[in-house]
């Protein structure tokens, strides 16, 4: 439809795409065979990934090859080394890794095995969020099939290289998607992020050198190995090459996960892929890359979906997951929903985050409910400034501060209107006309508490 070249979702569209048979029939495991049988030296694999410019697709956008190169030289550091494959996808708006795990698990596995060779790993742990039952089963089946076919485990493809692959099931905590929280959780503890340094490459799982990579990130690796860094750089931008999976949710005609080159204008994705804002309505606000990247107003919709452009707008690329709000939506309500989420998911170690997320949620709630004061708007800013950047062990505090700042910056008028007029329009209507208002109560968010939004 969009005319851009694709590769990420091509196989996932084939029937039985999750099986080894289908994967091999479409050329799967050729990249693994290339690196192990040629063999391509581990350092050369890392160099190829480095020169491809691949950036992590899990939120931070860190260069993958550079991350791999931080692992200590096995000749100088004989400790066991691990990869934690981060499949704890839980950034609100984001549902792309689920598709890859479910419909193309061998692609994920091949990426992990190439990473294992490049970093000379002892084992890979695939940390899947506990709710992803079918993706977990598909990934486990892929590992079993690959092991039986000599593609994983002992003496892979008849070479001297061995690497164990283990599945690990999480239990539903957003913070375990943070790389050090994930490692704590994988060790059987509360998912409290660790202070850094030390960084995972020096002190990771069980104190051993560890790399944490996102599912979609590793999924790109076999393509890069097989087709080359130059091919990869033919898509996307100079600083952020390749395609990415863009989840589009909220008020659009055709929500879905679409494959696009980095740098495509958000408007193109909204209008051409997602069919535009639903019900013929106008756009009010949009979130570019998952809840932590904040709200942007409609007039920013021509911004290219890529790290460098979104950063210039005070936002981030994040996980590339767009959430769209139409002209009837309440940004205050949306902010309240998100701040309650961060309040719920804060691990509680840092007081700025533990207390700050609670205060922000309470302030958004009273503004929403019609109990707000004009000075609350400044208080939102002051609190968010006290929480980030760089004031806590991990970035969850930043992730709560960014949407808060974005609402004050771009939607101050709505905040002021709620304070002045008495909260959400539906609540105002109900107060004026209790009978008619009652019909609209479903839409009213002060019901949130009784609906258990706070449960």
């Amino acid at each position: 439809m969009s005319g851009h070249p694709t590769y990420l979702l091509d196989r996932a569209r084939i029937e039985s795409s999750h099986t080894l048979e289908t994967y091999r029939a479409s050329g799967g495991y050729a990249a693994l065979e290339k690196v192990l049988k040629t063999p391509v030296a581990p350092a050369d694999v890392i160099e190829e990934v480095k020169s491809s410019g691949l950036r992590g697709r899990g939120g931070a956008g860190f260069p993958t090859g550079l991350k791999w190169s931080f692992m200590p030289d096995p000749k100088k550091d004989p400790r066991k080394r691990y990869l934690a494959l981060n499949a704890d996808e839980s950034e609100p708006g984001t549902c792309k890794d689920r598709i890859l795990l479910r419909d193309d698990p061998h692609g994920v596995l091949e990426g992990a095995l190439i990473a294992a060779w490049a970093m000379q790993l002892e084992a890979v742990y695939v940390y899947v969020r506990g709710e992803y039952r079918l993706p977990y089963e598909r990934m486990q089946r892929a590992i079993d099939e690959a092991r039986a076919a000599g593609l994983a485990g002992e003496r892979i493809l008849g070479t001297d290289f061995s690497c164990a692959i283990h599945m690990h099931k999480g239990a539903g905590a957003y913070i375990c998607g943070e790389e050090t929280g994930l490692m704590e959780s994988l060790e059987g503890k509360r998912g409290n992020p660790r202070p850094k340094p030390p960084f995972p490459a020096g002190f990771g799982l069980w104190g051993q050198p560890t790399t944490v990579n996102n599912v979609e990130t590793l999924f790109n690796v076999p393509f890069i190995v097989e087709r080359g860094a130059r091919w990869f750089r033919g898509m996307g931008t100079d600083k952020s090459p390749g395609n990415f999976l863009c989840g589009v949710s909220g008020h659009v005609e055709k929500p879905g996960v679409y494959e696009l080159p980095l740098g495509v204008p958000a408007r193109e994705i909204l209008e051409e892929n997602a069919g535009g804002v639903w019900k013929g309505r106008a756009l009010k606000a949009w979130i570019p890359g998952g809840s932590s990247t904040g709200f942007l107003p409609a007039d920013k919709i021509d911004t290219p979906m890529v790290h460098e452009s979104l950063r210039a707008e005070g936002s981030m690329f994040g996980t590339g997951a767009m959430i769209v709000l139409d002209e009837t939506a309440s940004v205050v309500r949306a902010a309240l929903v998100l701040l309650r989420f961060y309040e719920h998911e804060s691990c509680g170690q840092c007081s700025q985050c533990r207390e700050g997320t609670q205060w922000l949620a309470q302030i958004f709630e009273r503004i929403h409910d019609g109990r707000g004061r004009m000075e609350d708007i400044q208080m939102l800013s002051d609190l968010a400034h006290g929480m980030a950047p760089g004031k806590t062990i991990c970035a969850l505090s930043d992730a709560a501060a960014i949407p808060t700042h974005s609402v004050v910056r771009h939607f101050r008028g709505e905040l002021e209107e709620y304070v002045r007029e008495g909260g959400h329009p539906d609540l105002r209507a109900r107060r004026r006309d209790p009978e008619r208002g009652a019909e609209r109560a479903v839409e009213a968010a002060s019901e949130a508490a009784s609906e258990g939004v706070r449960a």
């Binding site: 066991k80 996808e89 839980s90 950034e91 609100p92 708006g93 984001t94 549902c95 890794d97 689920r98 742990y125 969020r129 506990g130 709710e131 992803y132 039952r133 079918l134 283990h166 690990h168 099931k169 999480g170 239990a171 539903g172 905590a173 957003y174 959780s185 994988l186 060790e187 059987g188 503890k189 509360r190 998912g191 069980w206 989840g247 589009v248 949710s249 909220g250 008020h251 929500p255 996960v257 979130i287 809840s291 959430i323 709000l325 939506a329 309500r333 949306a334 929903v337 998100l338 989420f341 719920h344 998911e345 691990c347 479903v442 839409e443 019901e447 609906e451 258990g452 939004v453 449960a455």
Partner: protein, 156 residues
């Protein structure tokens, strides 16, 4: 309470994946919850503490950190409705209301007949098929209110 022999063998198998046994604690709590009544009782905490050679408070600390573990009894069926933004924008509130009306349970409660436990949950990673709910671990997506009656009505 002694853990059933079959379950102990399964936990032994799980623990072999890791260089340190404790790493199997969360997967083990999942298996215990699935096999032993749908929740993590104080007895299960004690048994797991013994199995993993930990103090019970450490197991409490872990079990209470993760939303998927229930520390009090739930119904025969667990209904979890996503309340996060993508679902909220597409009518999650009316799904919650329908679920509560249909089951007779409030959010965070069991229904009077003990058949259902209803909760709201954070993002489940099905945002492009909002609104959604999870019933006994199975995803139900792109819901409309009448789907709730069909899905819950079909349960024993």
């Amino acid at each position: 309470m002694a853990l059933p022999q079959d379950l102990v063998r399964e936990l032994d198998e799980l623990a072999r994946k890791y260089p340190e046994k404790r790493a199997a604690l969360i997967p083990a709590l999942h298996r215990c919850q699935e096999e032993l009544g749908g929740w993590i009782s104080p007895e299960v905490i004690e048994s797991c503490a013994e199995y993993f050679d930990l103090e019970p408070v450490e197991v409490w600390g872990v079990a209470s950190f993760y939303p998927m573990f229930f520390l009090s009894p739930v119904g025969r069926h667990v209904v979890s409705v996503c309340r996060n933004l993508s679902c909220d924008l597409r009518g999650a509130r009316s799904i919650v209301e329908r679920v509560c009306a249909r089951t007779g349970a409030g959010v965070g409660e069991r229904s009077p007949d003990g058949k259902f436990y209803v909760e709201t949950v954070e993002c489940q990673g099905a945002c492009t098929a909002a609104p959604m709910m999870v019933v006994d671990g199975v995803y139900h997506e792109s819901l409309e209110e009448h789907d709730v009656d069909r899905i819950l009505g079909g349960l024993e």
